[in-house]
Structure formats: structure tokens, C-alpha cells
Amino acid sequence: MSAGTFKKRQAFSMGNRKRATILSVACILFFAGLYVAGFLLDDGGLRTNFMYRNQPPSFEFLFGTDWLGRDLLTRTIKGLCISLQIGMLAAFCSAVFATLFGLCAATFGGKVDAAVTTLIDIVMSTPHLVMLILISFAMGGGAQGVVTAVALTHWTRLARIIRAEVLQLKNMDYVAVSARLGKSKMWIARKHIFPHLLPQIIIGLILLFPHAILHSAGLTFLGFGLSPHNPSIGVLLSESMQHLSTGYWWLAIIPGVSLVLMVKMFDILGNNLRYINDPQTSQH
């Protein structure tokens, strides 16, 4: 690579860092806006109105209406909100598990490490969806079933990352010095290793959201998750299944597209934060 292109790359990547920051902030603002909108929106759009049944999208009803005359825009925003909450709760629990297991496995080593590795292998060798169905069956379905199922199955990848990171940190000089100074393993884990891991955990958590949201929507779609009284996006989509053959395409397409957009924004947010956090790009 010649000096010229390298310089160009350098300038380009500085722009990238700025762009990554702006994109991340935009994503966070969007989620905050969505959440507030879901709260503020009154239930007027959810009332059944047989005058306006099965209206295709128009200026009056931007997203159209469903078979009971409910406004699909209101339903979609509320549904996204519910999916967001469920996904965030599940991803958060999952990240806590991952941190605990990863940290313990690497700090204590030996038998604890072997046990955690086996547990990771167990979760990873069953198809995710089968495990999700099994756990939500064991929990008796409902919202708590979805959250538990997703939380118990999604921690493995992040736990592996954290374990590898801690193993690397353990060999650092300052950790060795601290141990020689007589600090306990717990103290070192809390004061030296955990702060180092925090950015990794936060980014891992955000990158968990897309999986958590998609899987909870999938579970709900299959009928294991939320009930129709709690209309998340998964519920909207599974209800629209009954109306697919009648040609009311917007019932399936619009909530689905908004779900994909939301998941994609989480992906963008996580990847951009990872990019900003990467020491290699901050050198320029």
C-alpha cells in the first residue's frame, strides 16, 4: 500500500469515527423516542371501529387498519415498545449470566472452568429454538417464559468472549503484582478485571438485543409467548397469518418491516460502539 492511499485511509477512518458516534447517538435517540411515543400514545387507535375495517395504508391511516378497524400505526408502535422491553430485559439477564459465568470460569479455573465450559457446550449443542420451546414450556409460557428462555440460552457467546478476555488479563503484570501484594482473587476480579471488561460487556449486551428480540418474536409467533392481550410485534404477525390469504398484505409487511428496522438499528448501534471502543481506530 503506497503512502498516499494510507493517508487517505487515515483521513477516512477519522471521518468514520465521527460518523460512528453520530450514528450511535441517532440510534439511541430513536429508541428513546419510540419508548416515549409508546407511553404517550393514547388507546384511541386501538378501539375497534367497524366503519374502517381493513383499510389499506392511506393518508388518514398511514399504516392502514386491521380486521377490527384498529389503527395499525398505533398497534405497531405499541408492539415495538413491548418487544423492546421484553428483548431488553432478556438481553440484560443474559449479559449478567454471561459476565458471572465468564468471570468465574476464568478467575477460579480448574473444576469451575470445566463446569462452565460444559454448560456452554450443552446450551450450544441444542438448536436454539428447541431449547427456547422447552424452557418456555417448563415456565408455563407467557412473558416470563419468553424472558427466561431467551436469558438462559443467549449468554454462551458473550461468556466465551469474557472468559478469553479475563484469561488474557490474568497474565498482565499489574494483576500479578496485585496478587503478590496479597489481594484476594475476588478483590482482583472486582477492582482490576471487571472495570476492564465493562466496555466489552456493554457492547456484548447491545449486540445481544437483536437476537433476543428476534427470538422472543419467534417464540411468540409460534404461540409460546405473549398472549393477545399483550400485543407485541410477534403477536401482531402471528394474528396477521390468518389474514394472509385474503390479500391484506399490509398487516404482515408493515409490522415486519418495522421490526427488521428496529433490530437492524440495534446492530448498527452495537457495531458502531465496538468501532469507537476499538483502540486500533482511536490511534489515528
Binding site: T118, D121, I122, M124, S125, T126, P127, H128, L129, V130, M131, I133, L134, I135, S136, F137, A138, M139, G140, G141, P210, L214, A217, G218, F221, L222, G223, F224, L237, S240, M241, L244, S245, G247, W249, A252, I253, G256, L259, V260, V263, K264, F266, D267
Partner: protein
């Protein structure tokens, strides 16, 4: 060679231990379920059966015994090859799984092959001409599909090709009113088209991104730089030198992704009402068919573990560097 033998002795043992642990864990999970199996089975008919009938069901399913007793009985039966009787199909679990898997097998096989080939080719193109328009389109496609729910892709295909255009059937594994044994091969393929397309589209995302990374790595290696400085074009370098370098990791990845494939088939089968193992899994979960659910969990674990083992073996068999490393190290 000695190391390989050692590998052959330890790896399958470890994998079978995992299968056993999965079985134990899922039994414990299921016995925690607050759902009453009789209500789940009968639904509203529960109100119509008499006390005596209920007692018969309880005795027949062994619900009067404690979970540890049931676990011992269950394990004993499994060791004799008996996974119990499926409640909703009223057939032995092994028979139900075998029949359903035969239907799902072709779905998964076609989707697996198609997504592997398509993903590999697209990924190789994207990696060879990095940052070109083709790369951007392919990358956008892969990233978008990675954040798209499988069941929604299936619904879109169903609305578009099934309802709007009417090119493909929207349901089942054969025409309505024809016994499953009499459905012709062509008809079967015709009904498989949309589910296979769904799973292939979703399955390509991961392999595209993986292959693209590997191709970019390859073009930064001395090997590729030398080939290009000898006058080989970018296309030729990729075709004659790159592909053989990136094929192996792609095949390994494809074998290791059997779990994703299985999960995807559950969703696709539900949308298209395809009578395969995935639909049976959902039915078993919703209607509380514990023997079948446990059987499917164990079966799908064996399925995934076998895929991982094959991936490992192929890697060792094809890549001579691993064997040399074992001989010297």
C-alpha cells in the same frame, strides 16, 4: 496418527456425555412445568371426563409417581430404545420422530445445500471485489437478512409467490385430499419450493459474511500478492488460488450451523403447515406432549452434535497442516 486415535477415542465420548447431560437437564426442566398435562392434552374437554377416566389417564402416564421415580423409569426405557408413546399422535415417539424427520430431512437438505452454494459464491464475489458496488449490495443483503426473523421471510414469500402470484402452494406437503403416500415426487418438490427458499435465503447471511472475510484475508496473504504480481488477474487469483483456500472453512461452518438450520425449519414449517419435525416440536410444546418433546430435544441435540463432529473430522481429513502439526507436536 496416535493423536488422531486419541481424538477418535475422546471426542465422541465427550459428545455423548453432552447428549446425556442435555437429556437429564431437559427432564428436570419439564418436570418443573406448571402446566397440567391432562388439561394441556384435553383442552376444554377436561370438564367432561369423569373422575375414573382421569384416574386411568394419570395411571397410564405415570403421573402418580414422583419425578425421580419417573426419571428412573424413563431412563430404563430409553436404554432399551423405548422413548415412550407420543400423546398427541398416539404412536411410539421414535416412530413419530422418524416419520417427521424424513419429511424435514429433504427440506433441510435442499436448503442446506442451496444456502451453502449461494452463500459461498456471493461471499467470494464480495470478498474478491471488496468495496465494489457488488460487494456493497451483497453485504447489505447479508446484514439485513441477519436481522430479519425467519418466520417473517416465510410470510413474505407466502404472500408474494403463494397468494399474489399464485405460483406455489401455500400449505402442506402435498395437494389436499391426497394421501401422503400417493403424493408424487414432483408434487413434493413443488410443495417444498417456498420453505426451501425461505431457509436458503436466511441461511446464506452467515456464510456470505464468513466467506467474504476469508477472501479478504486471502488477498492480503503473500500467496495472493505473488500470484497477482506474476500477472494473474484478480478474478483468476480468486478462482485458481483463493477458492481452494476458503472452501474448507466454509464447509466447516456449514456443518456447524445445523442448529440454526433446525431452528429455521421449525419456523418455516409452522408458516407453511409443512408436516415435519419442526411442526411436531411446536405441537408437542403447546399440547404438553412431554415424551415427544423430550425425544425431539434429544434427537435434535444428536443431530447438531453429529454436524459438529463431521465438521471437525472433515477439517482434519482435508487439511494436511493439522495432521502434520499433530505428528510433530
Amino acid at each position: 496418527m496416535k493423536n488422531f486415535l486419541k481424538y477418535l477415542a475422546t471426542k465422541p465420548l465427550r459428545l455423548s456425555i453432552i447428549v446425556v447431560l442435555v437429556a437429564i437437564l431437559s427432564f428436570i426442566l419439564v418436570s418443573f412445568s406448571p402446566l397440567d398435562p391432562i388439561t394441556a392434552y384435553l383442552g376444554y374437554d377436561r370438564l367432561q371426563i369423569s373422575q375414573e377416566q382421569e384416574q386411568v389417564i394419570i395411571e397410564r402416564w405415570g403421573l402418580d409417581k414422583s419425578p425421580p421415580e419417573r426419571f428412573i423409569a424413563w431412563t430404563k426405557n430409553i436404554l432399551q430404545g423405548d422413548f415412550g408413546t407420543s400423546v398427541i399422535f398416539n404412536d411410539p415417539v421414535t416412530l413419530v420422530i422418524g416419520k417427521r424427520f424424513a419429511a424435514s430431512f429433504w427440506l433441510m437438505f435442499f436448503a442446506w445445500t442451496l444456502s451453502g452454494i449461494l452463500g459461498f459464491v456471493l461471499g467470494a464475489i464480495a470478498g474478491t471485489w471488496r468495496d465494489s458496488i457488488a460487494d456493497r449490495i451483497i453485504r447489505f443483503y447479508a446484514y439485513t437478512l441477519a436481522s430479519t426473523p425467519t418466520f417473517w421471510v416465510a410470510m413474505i414469500l407466502l404472500v408474494f409467490f403463494g397468494v399474489k402470484l399464485g405460483w406455489f402452494p401455500i400449505c402442506c406437503a402435498g395437494p389436499l385430499g391426497v394421501a401422503p403416500e400417493q403424493v408424487s415426487f414432483a408434487d413434493r418438490l413443488y410443495h417444498l419450493a417456498l420453505p426451501v427458499l425461505t431457509l436458503s435465503l436466511v441461511g446464506t447471511a452467515q456464510i456470505i459474511l464468513h466467506t467474504r472475510e476469508k477472501m479478504i484475508d486471502f488477498f492480503q496473504s503473500n500467496h495472493a500478492i505473488y500470484a497477482m504480481s506474476c500477472g494473474e488477474a484478480r478474478f483468476g487469483t480468486a478462482l485458481f488460488h483463493g477458492l481452494r483456500n476458503i472452501l474448507l472453512p466454509a464447509i466447516t461452518l456449514q456443518f456447524a450451523s445445523l442448529g440454526e438450520l433446525f431452528s429455521g425449519s421449525v419456523l418455516a414449517e409452522m408458516v407453511f403447515s409443512y408436516p415435519g419435525l419442526g411442526k411436531a416440536t411446536v405441537d408437542a410444546g403447546i399440547r404438553g406432549d412431554v415424551p415427544l418433546l423430550l425425544g425431539i430435544v434429544i434427537f435434535s441435540t444428536i443431530f447438531v452434535v453429529t454436524g459438529n463432529l463431521l465438521a471437525d473430522l472433515i477439517y482434519r481429513w482435508v487439511d494436511p497442516r493439522i495432521q502434520i502439526g499433530e505428528a510433530t507436536g
